[in-house]
């Protein structure tokens, strides 16, 4: 589904992403972990089109999207959530998701009938919120939500765009430790139900190990190791570099 070929992005002397090769299969959930400055967010920004690489290629569904605009990538099916939550704060939770659906279906220019009259879209938005265990909060505005719910809503909006590939940038950052797994449960169960390929960026291995098919470890812009979560947990180099465990 996604193929990254020798991707490189340097900022001056900093090798943020340095000749990365990566494949993500259909329906696969892959997590990228690494210390701060490892290049994780730069990689997501390159895939979603926020920044352009110095060299290399990004193929999505066999199409070269290396230099495509974020808008084109969204239309092709690359969705993303943000480390710093990006929501529509003045409208209801339901409208946050519904507006994404209207946009996806090309109905956003319809300007005379109330949004409530499009009942199939409303039902679909409620179903999506239901998948994320948030339908009971549909009439609240984001101001009335907990940090965890804000994160879930951020993902639900990307999900509503019927993305074929979801990029989740630290979906639990800022969430209370006790709620982190609850947030991940909601997000991952909705994603698994639809079989969406997903790339999760996290710095906490504990958070992603139970939810990922594969874990990639990045260090100083390069892929240091990759494999099943338990293999990564036992990898000596990863233990020393990322977890700081020396034995």
């Amino acid at each position: 589904m996604l193929t990254i070929d020798n991707l490189r992005k340097h900022f001056g002397f900093v090798k943020a992403v340095d000749n990365i090769n990566l494949d993500i299969k259909e329906g696969e959930i892959v997590s990228i972990i690494g210390t701060n400055g490892a290049g994780k967010t730069t990689l997501v920004n390159l895939i979603s089109g926020y920044i352009r690489p110095d060299s290399g290629r990004i193929l999505f569904l066999d199409k070269d999207i290396t230099y495509a605009s974020p808008y084109v990538r969204i239309k092709l099916g690359v969705g993303r959530s943000f480390q710093l939550i990006q929501l529509f704060g003045g409208i209801s939770v339901l409208d946050n998701v519904r507006t994404a659906l209207f946009s996806k279906y090309g109905m956003i220019r319809r300007g005379l009938l109330s949004a409530d009259r499009y009942s199939s879209v409303t039902d679909e938005a409620i179903k999506i919120l239901d998948n994320f265990n948030m339908s009971d909060k549909k009439n609240l505005t984001p101001k009335g939500l907990s940090e965890g719910d804000l994160k879930i809503l951020d993902v639900a909006i990307a999900f509503a765009l019927k993305s074929k590939l979801l990029l989740l940038d630290e979906p639990t950052s800022g969430v209370a430790t006790s709620d982190k797994f609850k947030v991940m449960d909601s997000i991952v169960s909705a994603i698994r139900k639809e079989g969406i390929s997903t790339l999760i960026i996290e710095h906490d291995m504990d958070i992603v190990s139970g939810y990922s098919d594969r874990v990639i470890v990045m260090h100083e812009g390069r892929i240091m190791a990759q494999g099943k979560p338990d293999e990564i947990m036992e990898n000596k180099d990863v233990k020393a570099t990322v977890f700081g465990i020396v034995n």
Partner: protein, 294 residues
Amino acid sequence: MLFEYGLTFAIVGLGFNLLLGYTGLLSFGHGAYFAAGAYTVAMVGKYLPKAYSLEILIPAALLFSLVLSIIFGFVCVRHTRIFFSILALSLSMLLFALLFKLYHITGGSDGLRVPLPTMFGFSFKGVRRPEFLSGTYYYFLLVMFAVSFLIMKGIVSSPFGKALQAIRDNEVRAELIGIRVRRYRLYAFIISGMFVGLGGALWTFVNGHVTADLSHWVFSGEIVYMTLLGGFGIFEGPIIGAMIFTYLKLYAMGNTQYWMFVIGATLIILVLLLPNGVAGAVSGLWGKIKRKSH
């Protein structure tokens, strides 16, 4: 007659708030579109008296404010925040300069007189303006207001209206869910300009006279003022603001030569004590009462 003034400003407020309350753009130049509507009526009256009929004048005013808001809007929506506000103000002052300097065409500072129009073939010759305003035109205004209200209500609650609110709240994310932000800002600007132009056209018959001041930033400021007074966070806010402003201004002008002081002092009190405007305060109070009764 005050109520008729208020109704025309209420239509202006509805249009202005699509841009301020629902799209998050504060224009200090909406007097230009008001003037576009008003001058369309006055110029047709002067140069094309045979076409001086309400059923021609209203579409003509809408058309001219549409054209002007497309041109000005195209320039303005490339920017946001203070840059948008100043650009809108500057463009309206360009129109003011034209209306002021082209004396032989526009009447300059003297402005143009606005006679009573014909209406579906019916002439009001010999009818005095107050009678015209309290008779047929009163009901015509009510219908125009009701239609404007329903159309704008439909717009703000439609998928298009939701897209505008999404842009207002977070333009980065709006772009990322596939909304062409600049294009939708322009659409909002044009619709807003047309509503304000309609208000301007309807107002001319109430006032009987138009001057270049309508495009001056001070008049644009009055449009902003009445919207803030009513509250831009609530759909009905600008309507209430327009009504209160009309009565307040006349009351202040009738009682003191320092009426601008009264208006200014009211604005200060409003910003400090009622940041959500009169409608916002009433709605907040009502919410509290409802919660207590439960």
